[in-house]
């Protein structure tokens, strides 16, 4: 038996016991083979150097993107009052820290970028400029707070300790433990980034905290609409044993822009 047949009803009706045994072996060997490589399904890569993150990208998220602030509007377009933490699953320590927010003190301490760290910056109204820094590193610049995030597809050796921490990235595709069936892996996919080792910061501008132990997991999705527009969706999970009772989830959208016309870098503001 040279290949695993597609198990349609007609095929099932005519296969013999011996063929069934061969099928089981076939599936089992497929599972073992899959377990050896992430994503499963694709045929053996052609000889030569492994593809870079840039060449392997299933989606293109580079370019200028402007945020569409249609959710949590009051928390994003204005600075909410101290203690207004609606929707964020803070634990008692998190609530206590939020109630102690003092923007003047942050400014004095030179920490006015606390809300522009990796846990909060993507929620800031503004624009993103995403480029390939090199073949295995994506760079995300924000005009709000003039921040730069680096997403590494290969270990960078950086120690973190700044607002944006250390982000490790990989491409994700929908895949099955049984392989992808006929036709290989599906087109498209998403970018997954996991960030650690950052300075403590704010999830929202009014001092809703995350700690240095937080882990920020993000999925970047690109949707190309029939009307020709493109959206970037960033799904974010913040896990923080210090301040959160459960993970904090947001999904933030951006619309593709043709150029840098709207790009308007501004410094961090604690107020």
């Amino acid at each position: 038996m040279g290949m695993c047949p597609y198990p349609s009803q007609k095929v099932r009706c005519i296969i013999s016991k011996a063929q069934r045994a061969a099928l089981i072996l076939c599936f089992a060997s497929g599972m073992v083979a899959h377990a050896q490589g992430r994503g499963g399904g694709p045929p053996a890569p052609p000889p030569g150097p492994p593809p870079t993150a840039k060449t392997a990208a299933p989606i293109d998220i580079t370019g200028y993107w402007v945020s569409l602030v249609t959710e949590d509007w009051r928390y994003r377009m204005a600075t909410p009052p101290k203690g207004d933490v609606s929707g964020v699953p803070l634990n008692p320590a998190g609530r206590e820290a939020a109630n102690a927010w003092d923007p003047a003190k942050d400014e004095t301490a030179g920490e006015q970028c606390r809300a522009y760290g990796v846990g909060g910056v993507m929620r800031m109204p503004g624009r993103l400029h995403i480029t390939w820094q090199d073949d295995d590193t994506l760079k995300i610049e924000t005009d709000a707070g003039s921040q730069t995030r680096i997403l590494n597809f290969k270990p960078s050796g950086k120690q973190g300790g700044d607002w944006q921490g250390v982000s490790m990235a990989n491409w994700e595709r929908q895949a099955s433990v049984m392989g992808n069936g006929r036709g290989g892996p599906p087109p498209g996919g998403s970018l997954k980034a996991v960030t650690t080792k950052m300075k403590p910061g704010y999830l929202r501008k009014n001092g809703v905290p995350y700690s240095a132990d937080a882990v920020v997991t993000e999925y970047f999705e690109r949707f190309d609409e029939p009307n020709g527009e493109s959206l970037l969706l960033i799904i974010t999970e913040v896990d923080d044993p210090a301040y959160l009772a459960t993970p904090f989830w947001t999904s933030t959208h951006f619309k593709k822009e043709n150029d840098a016309a709207g790009w308007n870098p501004a410094p961090c503001s604690a107020q």
Binding site: Q9, P58, V66, T70, E71, G87, G126, L233, I235
Partner: protein
Amino acid sequence: MKRTNKGVILSGLLITGVWLSGQTAPRAAAAEESPGFDLSGYWTPAMHEDALERGGGSELGDYAGFALNEAGRLWALSYDASRVTLKHHQCDAYVAPYQMRATGNFRMWEERDPHDQRVVAIHVWAQTTEGHRVIWMDGRPHPPAWAPHTFRGFSTGRFVGDALVVETSHMKQGWLRRNGTPESDQATLLEYFVRHGDHLTNTTIVTDPVFLTEPEVRSNDYFRQVVDHHGWLYACDDGEQILDRAPDKVPNYLFGEQPFAQEFARVYKLPLISGVGGAESMYPEFIAKLKSATDEDGLARMTPVPGRPSETSRAVDPEPHDGEIHVLPIRNNVYMLVGDGGNIVVQVGDQGPFVVDTGTGALAGKTIAAIKKLSDRPVQFIANTSFRADHTGGNVKVRASGLDPSLPGSFFSNQFADAGQGATIMAHQNTQNHMDELKMPAEGAPSDTFLEDRRRKFHNGDSIELFWEPNAVTDGDSIVHFRSADVIVTGDIFTTTEYPFIDVKNGGSVQGEIKALNDILNRTVYEHEEDGGTLVVPGHGYLSNEHEVVEYRDMVVIIRDRVRNMINKGATLEQVKAARLTADYDTRYGKSTGPWTTDMFVEAVYRGLK
């Protein structure tokens, strides 16, 4: 109270799917489509974003982040939450994008063809409102423009890349936000579902030519749960909430008099423009505007812009204009024929067709051919809802198609010269009078008229009633109720295409129009959460149920209230017209040319109240 899901599921399928499209689904998949992924299971929404809006309720006057145009903004500001105390609004369901954002758990499952195991549909069941969405995955087309709308609409899906992409049309009018932020019945929805482990994200993109200047993009996150949440039922029956309220009372605020319009801004110490910024409020540049805006900037957006020309309808024309007659099965033995001006209804059976209205007559031959496909019997009766030419233009030819040579042998052939010579045309006497005045052909005039409130007929196994609605569009209008099929044909008392054609010269009046719309609502019953139930055929437009009628009734009452308020203050007709009192409805119903313009409607309302 125990509710059965079976009926709900059946109605969902009936209304949104099988019955509407009635076509074999093509099987071909687009080249870019992917094999798909599993969405089945129990899902709980993560309400971390917009927690207050989605939980306790949105702030009054907060439309921030919505690309509302002037009409949408004014519609929202006119909205009084007490409107949900009205019997016909108490059980309003949620339109699809709001449903996906609602509190409560969700269950999703696949429906597969038992023979080839292809995915036929993905079902979504929401706890709140028993919201059942069916996403057809088999490539079937969306229904035509004259097909009914439901709260969840008609959805088709396909897997593209790592997303399930869903397109939805045919939704009813509903909410984008619970504080009255509107979504019109012309809105369409594009969705992307993506799954990462036990986390599902649904991005909704609402395009609404009536109320939005840009698509509204939002997203909803859900966690997968292992355990059945139970509590999947959501019983709702309407009842009397406010006694002794006049039937023509619809809670609403006059322009500029919404008492809570400034609440959101004042409570959170924001500029007044915050909640009414429209599309600008979605973009980062709006932060600078917040810093410089004055109260006047905000207040200016809370009333119609003075001196601006009236907007015109941006709704899809529901009539085909292709020179053909299209047949839409309604229920049992009743059909709607679309294509020749006013809608035509045909009931068929052993006793021969009973026809309501005959269109303009331009396509009478094709109308008769379509009727013959439904029944080989001669047409027995024609009921006219009005004398207007787009409802009676085909009378002569359709009547003639009722020629029955077997009848001259009857007793009556000795009494009446025209016995068996054609169908009997029924209408209110005033309709006949108007047709005589207009010297319309005698062969097409009603021969069986009635003078008082009701004419009845048992035909083809159904009880058919004609109710006179005096002084609505004219003084001779009737609605026709097929009681067993539970279908009401309204003539031009109700349309989905324009403001009511109140013909003051021929006895129409706004008060009579409101009464007539309420009379229709007094005879309708919804099946589930304002979907289904009694089906209503408008004079023009798509097949409806009571929800479309009640939104239309609300509109007429609200505009009546505004005009009356100005009359009470001594306003002239010109001042009333200049005040743009229909500004929140013009993008849906407005016309600046043709036989029935917005100006004509406002004048008819004014003259009816003066």
